[in-house]
Symmetry: C2
Subunit: 217 residues, 2 copies
């Protein structure tokens, strides 16, 4: 019988630690507003979190929010930008440090992808799952960043196919599958998990190689 002991029953987010990247988290009231909004958007969704709740959690009055952001929507927009740019930065950095072997490059990408979704799971959940609450004009730059990240996966896998080392049934769907399984990690990972983040990342990199080699054997 399968082990139930590791079962994690996350409805949306398991981790409660880790909010914004260190580079952003710091600066004063504005930073506290972003952190407060991030937590509340994760817990109760964008529409479910009120301006007053965000202000209270940030330790200011609701009117003071408008000295830092012109609207509630712009708070979410900033969070989504931070999340997607941090993600993209990590992917590019991983590729830069990797040798040109497609398998090593894919491993590096997946590891960075999964690490992001473990280390900044709250940011990842909000960035990924609340985008539909932004008007399309405001969401556009975020989507562009996401397209760039998808393209990194696409290029690595396509190159592996061209070199004859990968043979997924469908390149675009392999990207969707690898990206999707990693995104979902943010929903269940918690620092209390039985494996370290590095071990989780390695395991998923292994899974990704299994996906792109699915027709090779």
């Amino acid at each position: 019988m399968a082990d139930q002991g590791t079962a994690i029953r996350a409805r949306r987010l398991q981790a409660t630690e880790g909010d914004l990247p260190d580079s952003v988290a710091s600066d004063g009231t504005r930073g506290r507003i972003l952190e407060a909004a991030l937590h509340l958007f994760a817990e109760t969704s964008y529409a479910g979190a009120s301006i007053r709740e965000i202000a209270t959690a940030a330790g200011v009055q609701s009117a003071s929010l408008y000295a830092h952001f012109p609207s509630k929507e712009r708070i979410l927009a900033e969070i989504a930008v931070i999340g997607h740019e941090e993600h993209h930065r990590r992917l590019r950095h991983a590729l830069l440090e990797s040798r040109p072997d497609p398998a090593e490059q894919l491993t590096a990408l997946v590891r960075a992808h999964v690490r992001m979704h473990c280390e900044l799971s709250m940011l990842a959940v909000v960035s990924n799952n609340e985008l539909h609450s932004l008007s399309s004009a405001v969401a556009e730059p975020v989507m562009a960043t996401r397209d760039s990240s998808t393209q990194l996966f696409n290029e690595v896998i396509q190159r592996g196919v061209d070199l004859g080392v990968f043979a997924p049934a469908h390149v675009w769907m392999a990207v969707a599958a690898i990206g999707g399984m990693g995104i979902r990690v943010a929903n269940w990972y918690t620092p209390g998990f039985e494996l370290t983040i590095d071990e989780v990342a390695d395991t998923y990199a292994d899974f990704a190689l299994g996906i792109v080699r699915s027709e090779v054997h």
Copy 2:
């Protein structure tokens, strides 16, 4: 250079057709309320959709909703129950029809899982992504159904390991990865996609086999 032509840029949901399972969709005002709520919850989230909007979309006055549901929360609860039970029913049916070979069983499960997320993508998106808006008491039976479905994957993969035909780096994470990549299909699949639902399902079944065999070769 990788093909951009197949790029799909879903923020939350690509498909607009397909709402509730045929078995539920039919009956009168109550059915229309559920359908209307499903659409609105998918578009603007649970908290973002108002009772008045749901009523208007269902063709009744807002007060009339309360003749069918005691609260807005119970509308979402019913949708989530329908979604998760339909999902579980399909998985069990797939297993019942499969021969006892673990690879065939896993293929059957993944195909059913993916088909569900293509054919009822709106229901799947709401059932999966709005659960955190339910109080934990109301969400509990839904979570129990989800646990049962996870357990089906778990048992098939664990049995494959015991029989020596599967060797994923980690059984629980293989289940999470296979489940997660399938769940994400609901976010991008649309009837206009270049492949049929069966082809998508087959491809993902292939990916899943790649995941559980990741250490074998």
